[in-house]
Symmetry: C2
Subunit: 292 residues, 2 copies
């Protein structure tokens, strides 16, 4: 017997392993994606809706995982979008990395219309989702949040971090983490260039750093990716890195906070996107300063 019905909007790189985890766990899944072909691999294992309404008709908890603010706004507020189709009382769990501002706005819109908006952005790449090693931030109304928390481990969460009652707080935390990751990549890139130009092999320098003071997943993984210049198998696109660094800078500017490193990261992601590298892995940031 199948478990409860769950809706899922989106079918990107990160969504697919999560959908597969939910299938394995026996959920009755209703999926929708604007480009239906992206759901091909799960055809027959889930019900694929022709539109958002066909998902809403069968579910009272719907997850969405969308690339950016405009995309999320569209699936929520456009004609035939979630807030015009969901059944009363439905919980919408928004897993996208979006601005705190849109999270606050959509939380209010949902509430006004009798829905609950929970923010639960994801930390981790598709391979971590497949291995159920994701970290997930969560924030929003307490009762709805507790029922969401029961499902997250089956989606691939190894750890769930609760940031309270305001949905936007989860997005603030997620942006903070993405800023830290991008900052680590910028650090690695600059130091590799500096030591290399001064006669020290980056791989020897890196072995020392990753073995000792910087012995943690981010430095180990991205250090290896940058050393090997493995930018062609994107797990997270550089154009999304640019999007996130723009969001980080906006979140700082709106509160008059100085982030000089935040500005460097936005500038350098703009540079790699302008170089036509937006579809590469976001570690391609490494070529912003001194080229390939």
């Amino acid at each position: 017997m199948k478990k409860q019905a769950i809706g899922f909007i989106g079918a990107g790189n990160l969504a697919m392993p999560i959908i597969n985890n939910l299938i394995e766990s026996g959920y009755d899944l209703y999926c929708y994606n604007r480009t239906r072909e992206k759901l091909q691999s799960v055809e027959g294992k889930v019900t694929i809706g022709n539109n958002i309404r066909e998902v809403c008709d069968h579910t009272t908890i719907i997850f969405s995982l969308i690339a950016d603010d405009p995309g999320l706004r569209k699936i929520c507020l456009s004609e035939g979008g979630l807030t015009s189709c969901m059944k009363p009382g439905t919980i919408h769990v928004s897993m996208s990395t979006v601005s705190p501002a849109i999270a606050a706005e959509l939380e209010a819109t949902h509430q006004q219309k009798g829905f609950t908006y929970i923010a639960s952005p994801i930390m981790g790449r598709p391979e971590a989702a497949a291995a159920k090693k994701l970290g997930i931030c969560i924030a929003g109304e307490t009762i709805a949040k507790e029922s969401v928390k029961e499902i997250l481990p089956e989606m691939g969460a190894a750890a769930v971090y609760d940031f309270g009652e305001k949905a936007a707080s989860a997005n603030v935390a997620k942006l903070g983490i993405n800023f830290m990751i991008a900052a680590a990549m910028e650090t690695i890139s600059e130091v590799f260039d500096m030591v290399n130009a001064n006669g020290v092999k980056p791989e020897e320098f890196y072995a020392m750093a990753a073995q000792n003071l910087f012995n943690c997943p981010i430095y180990k993984n991205y250090g290896e990716i940058i050393l090997a210049k493995k930018f062609d198998t994107p797990q997270f696109y550089a154009r999304l890195g640019l999007k996130d660094m723009i969001l980080v800078n906006e979140a700082a500017e709106i509160k008059e906070i100085n982030m000089p490193l935040g500005k460097v990261l936005k500038t350098n992601y703009q540079k790699v996107v302008d170089m036509g590298l937006g579809e590469k892995d976001w570690a391609v940031l490494a070529v912003a300063a001194n080229g390939e």
Copy 2:
């Protein structure tokens, strides 16, 4: 019976626990420091020289740990300095964090005069020295280097990283590490300010980051120091942070390497030093952006 005679020049925060480790290991130590009082705690356990010559007369391996390039230049090249007093064939092990340029220059000067200059800058704070958990970079002439490597664990090295035959390479690597540490502190400082201004408690955000993707000594230690604003018990001075970031930028500029983050770090250390915070712990970088 005492082990071999060893010279040690310098008596700063990091030198003292190293000297104590050598005493415990039974070496016959000849120490010198410009300010003799700083050696008070080891009086009776080591021979304290009145000048550099009195150290040179008794030893053929001399370690030095000095704050900066001018200080190192002085103890090496001034009248009564090492290169005018050392016995032929003496190995001078320079543990200071100095520029690759001065390391290359002094290596040549030593060689011309029949001495060997080994660079072995230290990674770690005084408490790590006391606990024998230091990382030490080393580079220079192979045979001399091997004899130095036998002593380093007794000085407090848990790990020794060999960067080859050119002394300057060890300094390049050390500057790279200090750049990475300062970059991590800048990252932590900026993200704490950003999340805090947007309604997320830095300590909750930090618990997530340090438990997961950034679970390594640098982020854990400096995250706690910055959260608690523990800048008044300096293990490494902010003014030395400025000195090191100037050296990093010079090493990059000399090779025409772009380091935008390097520039941010130099600017912000200059700012805290200008604010009169040069004698605080270098984690005081955290106040550069948005004040205390």
